[in-house]
Structures are given as C-alpha cells and as structure tokens.
Subunit: 575 residues, 2 copies
C-alpha cells in the first residue's frame, strides 16, 4: 500500500491520514523526523508545550526482509537539550509501522485537561482512547496489559512514570520480539510523549505489508549485504560479547571515564566486562546472543538471568554498563542488571540517568559505588517523582545545576557517553558538534580510533579528527534514515560490497536510481537541516564546546586534556 502520513492533534483529538508531501517522499527514519520537525515545529517553542510535535518514522527499508532494518526513529524538539532530536531503537515498532503503511506518525497539540490517552494505529488510521488503568504504571505492566488487551501481533511504544512526570531523562520504550523493552533513549522524548498525555501507542499492522518494486533485485542485494555484515570481525565480536566487549578495550585505551570522568581507567573493569558477562550469562542459562528485532544478523543483545537463572534484563549495552559501572564505580554486574531493569520499567535513559548519578555522587548526595542507594533512589524517588527523583530523572545537567557542581560532563545539557574525549579525541568532536548534544552514535569515531575500522587514527592526536567525525556524522545521518542499525557501519567502512548492496536494496524497494553520492548528499542535507533548526532555536557555535573541566583537568593514564580550539571545532561545519 502507499505510505501515508498519520496525524493526531491532541488538543482536539482529531486524526487524519494524509498523502506524503513531495518534499518528504525520499525520506525515512531520522531524515523524515528531522525534516518534519524543521517544517512544523517553531524552533523557539517550549518543548513541553502545545507547539512541539512528536514524530515517529520507520526507516526507508523497515518492514522489508533487509537484514538489520528494524530501527524506528522518534523526533521532536528535545526538552533536555533544546535542540532538534532524533533517537532510534530496535524492537518491533518500525516493522509494524511500515506494514501499517505509515511513513510517519505526527503527534501535535496538547490536551487542555488532565486526561490521559492511548493511540491505536492500524492501516485504517488512528483511534484515540482515554486511558486510566495504566497511568502511573511502569513499562513492563503496560506492555503486558496492552498485549492482553489487543489480539494479534501488537507493537507497543510506551512511557513509564518518568515520561508521565515530564522528566527530561525519560525515554520512550519499544516492545521487542521477546516482549521486553528497547528504548528510544536519548533527549527526553518520553517527556514530550508525556506532555501530549499519551501513555502508549499500539501498532496493529493487520495484514499490511511493504511493497517492493523489484523483489528479485531486492533479494539478491540483501544476500550480498547480509554476507558483508556477518563476515565482518566486529559484527562477530558483537555477536559473541555484545557491545559490552568494549569495556576492556576502552579501559585499556585509557578512555574509560571513571568516577564522574575523573580518571580514564576503572579498577573494577574485569568484573563488568563483556567477557565476564558472557560467561555469567552462559553459566546461568541466559542467552549471550540475541537480536533486538526480527531480521538482525549481528545480534549484539543478550538475555541476562539472575543468580537463580531467572530472567532479569536484556539489551544491556556497553554504554549503560559503563555509566552505572565505571562512572559510578559500581563493579557488580547483578546490581547493574537490576538497575538496568528498573530503568527500563520506569522509562529513563540509562546513560543520562547513570551519568546524573555520577554527578550526584560528586555532589555527595550519595556515595560513589553505592548501588543499593541508587536502586532506592530509582524506585523510591524517581519512580515516585520526589524532588530528588526529579532532579536526577531530569539528567546530569539538572543535578549539576541543582547542586552547583562544576564538573558536569554534558554537551548541550545531554550527558556524555562512555568515551572520554580527552583520551579519544575524535569522539569529542562528535560530542561537541552533534546537532543533538553529546551522543556517540551520531558519529562513532571509536570505530576508527580504537577498532581500526575504516582506517586508523591515533586517539590522542587531534590530527584528522574533525574530518573523521564529519564523514561519520554525514554517513550516520543517511544510515539512520534507512532503518538500518548503526552497526552496519563496520562492514560498510571496510567491505566494498556492503554499501552498494544497501543502495541496491533502496533502489529495488522504491524503483529508483540512487547513487553513493546521493546517499552522501542525503546525509549532508539532514545535518544541515538539523543545524539550521538549532540556530533558529538560538544555538551558536559557542554551544559546540565541551565543558571547561575537560580543558583544565588532565585525565590519567595519558595525562591528556581536551585541546581543540573553538576555531578548530567550528571547521566541522565547512561542507
């Protein structure tokens, strides 16, 4: 069926299904969410007010059999950063949305009273219902109840208590194939969904399916693409140890931010490493290898069981484990798994929230390493919306401002992930210049700096880092539009057959004739659209800077500081 724009106005609860404007026809995923936000959201609007819009869009290849194409993008003006925001996730929603024939769901307006709602999307359109039963509940209860309430294969997007309470660390949860939780994690989009008073969105594709213009060509391209993915050594490492394979690697590189970014190596790194986790998972009958969406051939996820062999959590990423672990100096994987599960349930970004805990520890709100108190704060304060819970649930910048902490590792108020920019300088350029605040996924220079993918670069040298980040940010913006997982990038950077196969799939899906240059230009145009939105929202090049302490505090073991000048950083935008 032809893809349509699905729209709901939460002020008057009206809905519509609209043709896709020509300008948006070639876009999907991030390219589409960012273009819609740029076209329809006033850049200076209050992100939690009626003038912001929340957009969901499957990628261009989502809903097809293309390997690893099951990512969904969500976009809005972020209440955390004030910038344009796109966050993407696996799970089942992208494929279901694509099969509904929904190119993008646009949620606008804001109810005038205190009522809560849910949305049901089917190929026929949107049904808005009042919701009472699930208000105040966590995501696990929501997914369970929604699966029971609707028959058939339902995908679910939902918010936990944090999103309901408009915390800027709130994420949007996405049901995965095992009925567990994946997350549209960063930038507080859960608060935007909460501000629209939508507790969950159920997606029922019924018998919908995605049309392929040239099925034979598509199949052949997908075969070549899949081979490139599974052959790459990084894909294989991710399949064995998950993303958490990085703990020992980044620690060894001295760029493993520890104790609120005060040193670059963590004494307890072995206890939380991917290798240790792998053995623990096997020992307890969990699954070390698991895909977050149907069609994934890398399978970096896992099922982590507790001491008694009972399911505890899945999709424990390196960044989450680092943040709860090294940044808060917690060296116990079971405690981390417990927190990961609670964060999934109440619906907060595990990076933002954990880095917020690290800042709170620096402010002496709790002790470094006190995972018991972290768990208490998660369940008794954040989930219940106490003042302390909101301060931490609003993210690292919030904690820093509330307690007058000078060492707050954020860019544009978004917490830095698991790579110290003093010791791994390329990622610092990504943090500084990304249109979305500090976010490693926007231009993952670690691939080249640390993993030797797509060439090599000395992580302690500034040489070539602006160019490296720029190239990767452009490529990422394009990849984020296809519905592809970012982890296809390793193969795409090293294997000459990968990217052409991806382009062949796009052409076969839509019956078009894209070239590699078109894809690069797509990435450039997305970045420029996002950057223009931010400028119109009041951001300047002075916002493309790391916090002061990275320049003045050398980090062990390399004794490295962040030494890019503003002028050097600003050359990023010369394209």
């Amino acid at each position: 069926m032809a893809d349509k724009i699905f729209r709901v106005n939460m002020t008057d609860l009206s809905t519509s299904v609209e043709d896709v404007p020509a300008d948006w026809a070639g876009h999907g995923g991030r390219g589409l969410t960012s273009n819609i936000v740029a076209a329809e959201v006033p850049p200076t609007c209050q992100p939690l007010g009626p003038n912001n819009k929340l957009i969901f869009a499957p990628g261009l290849l989502s809903g097809t059999t293309a390997s690893n194409s099951g990512r969904i993008s969500a976009g809005a003006k972020s209440p955390l950063t004030g910038t344009i925001k796109e966050s993407n996730s696996g799970g089942t929603s992208a494929q279901r949305l694509a099969k509904i024939g929904c190119k993008a769901l646009i949620i606008e307006g804001q109810p005038q009273d205190d009522s809560w709602y849910s949305l049901l999307l089917t190929p026929e359109g949107i049904t808005v219902s009042k919701e009472e039963e699930l208000i105040g509940k966590g995501n696990f209860a929501v997914v369970e109840a929604v699966e029971k309430r609707f028959s058939g294969k339902i995908a679910v997007l939902s918010i936990g208590q944090a999103g309901e309470m408009l915390m800027t660390g709130a994420n949007i949860s996405v049901k995965d194939p095992g009925s567990h939780i994946r997350s549209l994690g960063r930038g507080g989009l859960g608060a935007v969904m909460g501000s629209k008073k939508i507790k969950f969105i159920a997606l029922d594709a019924q018998n919908g399916k995605v049309d392929i213009a040239d099925p034979e060509a598509f199949k052949a391209a997908n075969k070549a693409f899949t081979k490139a993915l599974v052959d790459h050594p990084v894909s294989q490492a991710l399949g064995t140890y998950g993303t958490n394979v990085l703990v020992n690697i980044i620690n060894e590189a001295g760029g493993f931010p520890t104790k609120n970014f005060s040193t670059g190596q963590f004494e307890g790194h072995e206890q939380i490493s991917g290798e240790t986790m792998h053995d623990l998972i096997v020992e307890r009958g969990g699954k070390p290898t698991h895909g977050c969406h149907a069609g994934c051939v890398i399978k970096c996820s896992q099922i982590y069981n507790d001491l008694n062999g009972k399911y505890k959590t899945s999709g424990m990423e390196y960044e989450s484990i680092w943040a709860m672990g090294a940044d808060c100096t917690v060296d116990d994987l079971d405690q981390i798994a417990e927190m990961d599960s609670i964060m999934d349930d109440i619906g907060v970004d595990s990076i933002e929230t954990s880095v917020a805990f690290g800042v709170a520890m620096e402010a002496k709100v709790l002790d470094f390493g006190d995972s018991k108190e972290m768990i208490r704060i998660l369940t008794e304060e954040i989930a219940k919306g106490t003042a302390l819970g909101r301060v931490i649930g609003n993210g690292a910048g919030s904690v820093g401002r509330t307690y007058g902490v000078a060492r707050v590792p954020v860019v544009k108020n978004q917490a830095m992930p698991a790579y110290d920019p003093r010791a791994i300088k390329g990622i610092g350029i990504t943090y500084a210049t990304s249109t979305q605040g500090a976010d490693h996924t926007m231009g993952y220079t670690i691939a080249t700096e640390i993993l030797g993918v797509g060439g090599t670069a000395d992580p302690l040298s500034k040489e070539g880092m602006v160019e490296l980040s720029r190239g990767l940010q452009i490529a990422t913006a394009a990849i984020d539009s296809t519905g592809m997982c970012l982890f296809i990038a390793f193969a795409a950077l090293d294997d000459g057959t990968c990217l052409p196969a991806l382009i062949d799939m796009l052409n076969a899906r839509f019956g078009i004739g894209l070239t590699a240059d078109d894809v690069t230009n797509l990435g450039k145009s997305i970045l420029k659209t996002e950057h223009a939105f931010n400028k119109a929202a009041g951001f300047t090049n002075l916002d493309d800077r790391l916090p002061e302490f990275f320049e003045t505090e050398p980090i062990a073991p390399h004794n490295a500081v962040w030494d890019f000048t503003g002028e050097e950083i600003d050359t990023f935008w010369n394209f």
Copy 2:
C-alpha cells in the same frame, strides 16, 4: 587618598593593592563592575568555577555627603542567567569601601580544598582569614558575630546558607545602618561568593575619607540636588508608604501578576497594600519611614514590627510583598514579613525565591496561598539544602525545569518582577532586552507608563515602548555607576535642576568637566559592554524574548497578550 583596585586570589590566597588602570578611572559602581568582568572574565566560563570573578565597587559619589549616594554594586558572570550581572544595594558597604580608598574589590580564583574564609579590608589592604565558627549560619548571626569580633564601625557583606550551598537564588547581604540586612539581590551572586569560599567580608575604613576636588561647589550642587529629590511627589509617596505604595496602583492598572502570572489583579490586594502596611506599622510602634543608608533623603524603607510590637523585618519592598503575596496568593502581611525575614537570614533573593514558590504551586508541590508550607520549606528545606530546597533555592527556572512546568515567568532564567508585561508593555521590553535577565530596575518604564513621570505612555499600547525602555536603560546604567539610588530618577525625569546638580557633584568630586552628553554616552557604553559580553557568552537576539505563554494566554482584566514581534524587540539595540 587615591582610589586603588584591591584584589584577592582565592586559589593561592594572595592579595594586592593596585593602581587603577586608565580605562577604568572614569568608572564606578555598575560601569566599573561590568567593565572589569568584561575585561577579566572569560564569557564562556562556568560561573561557579575558578575563572569567574566577583567584583564589588562603590559608586562614583559613594562615601561623600551627596544625598542617596550609598549604593554598592556587585558584578560577575551570573550563575542564574549566564549573562553578565550587576546587582546593587544600599546599606553601609559602599560608603565604607569608598572611604577605604577601594575603587573596586576583585575576588578571583577558588580554593582547592573545602576550607572557608573571610576577608577584612582596611586602607592598608586585604587580610584573608580561615573561617569556621560562622559556616552554616544565617546572615543575622554573621552580622552580629562580625560586629562583636571587630571593634569600630565595620561594614559587612555576607552570605547565608543558600550562598554557601551555591544556590542560584542566593544573594549577598549588606549590613545596613541599623545592623539589619539589605541585599545585593538578583542573579545569584551569593553563589559566586560561596564558590569563592568567602563567608563574609568586613570593611573597616579606619580614618579613611573621600577626597573632594572642589568642596564648595560640591556642597552647593548637593543642596540643589537634595531639594529636587525631596520636592518630587513620588519621593514623598515613597517616604510615606514605601515602595509598597505600588500594590494598589499596579493592581488597579491590571498588571499585578497574580497566581503565577495567571491574572492581573489580586483579590487580597488591600490586605497587603502600602496603605494597610503603613497603618499597621504605626499601630505597632514601628517606623514607616527609614533610610537604607546614611544620607538618604527619600527613606522608602521601614521597620516592621510583629503583633507584639517586636522588630520583625525592614526594607520590605513592593516587589517582595507582591511576589510572596499576589504571585503566591498570600494575603497576610505578617506571614509575608516572617518570610521576608527568613529570606534575609538564609540569603535568597526574595523576588526569585517567591516566584519560584509560585511555579512550585503551579506544579502542585504546595498549594497556592499556603504560607505555612512556604515557611516550612524556607527553614527546613532551603536552609538545609534538601533536594526540594535546592530546586526552589535555585529559582523559578529551576522549579519549572524540574517539574516540567510550561508557564515559567523568566527571561534568561531570571524571574520576572511585579509588573505583568502583557498589561504594562514597556516593562516587557526591559525584561526582554535587559543585559541581565528580567529586571524592572534596569529600565523602570513603570515611571512613565503608570506614574506619569517623565511624560506619559499608554501601558496597553506598544507605541513608543522600545524607545522608552531604551532611554531609561541608558540613563539607569549611568545612574547605577554614580552610587545613586535609582529613585533619584523620578526627580531627574521631571525636575530640570536635578540632573545638572548631579553632574556638578561628579565634576566637583573629581575636578573634571562632564556634560549631560558624557553621562548619556557613559550609559550607552556600559550597555554595549554588557551586551558584547553576553554575545561572547553565546546569547543571541532569540534570548531577548518573553516566555511563550505571554503570547498565547490573555491576562485579565484587559485580556491583553504580549504582542511585540522579535523584529520590534530587536530594534532596542539600534543605538
């Protein structure tokens, strides 16, 4: 004696007394603090980090016999707004600092450990001492202890618990002639003093005095100046009823922001009015008329006693009474006086903190009108630094961000004072364009819009308001440099003898030949210096805007909205 720059570096505790650079010779008060901040503080620095500086400067005429010349200015990069900041106050410090021969005190650096310090300034220089006894104490205890500790006439600048805990609503307290508290109120300068780990600054002028180049001419000019002040009807009304004379006037005008800026008139206005307060003060044996510094001939302050005729507070300003009163819908002057006293003691800006309470009430943290709970939060939460205490102690923007409130009356994160910009439009231009965030004292258009001073203007019309605010902001920047109280402006605007007499005093003090044009140019150059600092700190014209809800929510009784376009506002800077 020749004026000098006194400097202390809190990183190594070194001190110096330096000659005044030629560039700063013609400056005093705000002109001097802003020029020093612009010259020495990196605009993008972390305001609570070691690179910010805190400057104190008496006005050009402070320490002389000139009427109303006892204002001291404090300046820094504000941790509340991120802009340059000047705040000024009466009390005894300006005169004492001038008599010490200190043109400006510059406090830089930051101790590397947790020690606290005090400073003693005498004509010989600065003594830095470790302080333990008074840490954790309120301002009343500090003033009392410091008076005991030093013999002679000591002036005191101090911070309460809020400043120690780096709350961005923290002010700096200034001992007044009755050993009570006046405040360098706005912009969180108390947190900057706290970040320097200075609990108090004692000023001992010993036998120091200010030199006058032409004493006779000075005396004659002061006589004419004083006559102009005391003859003006607004001066007289201020002397009788204090600034609180405005309650009924602004309520009548429909621009009296009530219940977190949701309507323009307060049912309980009579109970908190200046007239009611005057009668209560007289009845209880207080003083309805009182000067905040020696030499004041307007005497808008008062001594407010409690039900038993015992001293409760002094210097209850209209803006504080409005903020605790109408904005929080509290209609009991005794409750307001109690809160005013507590705020003085713990050292928070009564405007910022009370507007923060109003936002907290909107967020349902406490009920509108619940002054008992406000008092509990002040004493049990803010003074003790709990999470809720810090959220409110950090100001209105902090509460709004923490609780996801869309209706937050701030500009550049500083709370709006007691005049609704929808119903009194000129003051909205001042709020929007001021280099310091929302601040009525930066360009008090109320004088013309409501009081008919310096002409008239229809407060509900946009006509001429940009020009009105511009003229007043330029004049104010100059007045704030002289050490004069802003209330000389009423006479200066209406009485042709006032401003020439002021200029004659400046010329007689320094043996120079300033003209009225020189004074206007001084004001312009100060504004431009401040504006340039803010631009270099990352502010753009998009920061010169009022919050969205002023444009969309009409305010009763005039059903008025804020309807200036961005382009119209931006013409402010065309000079």
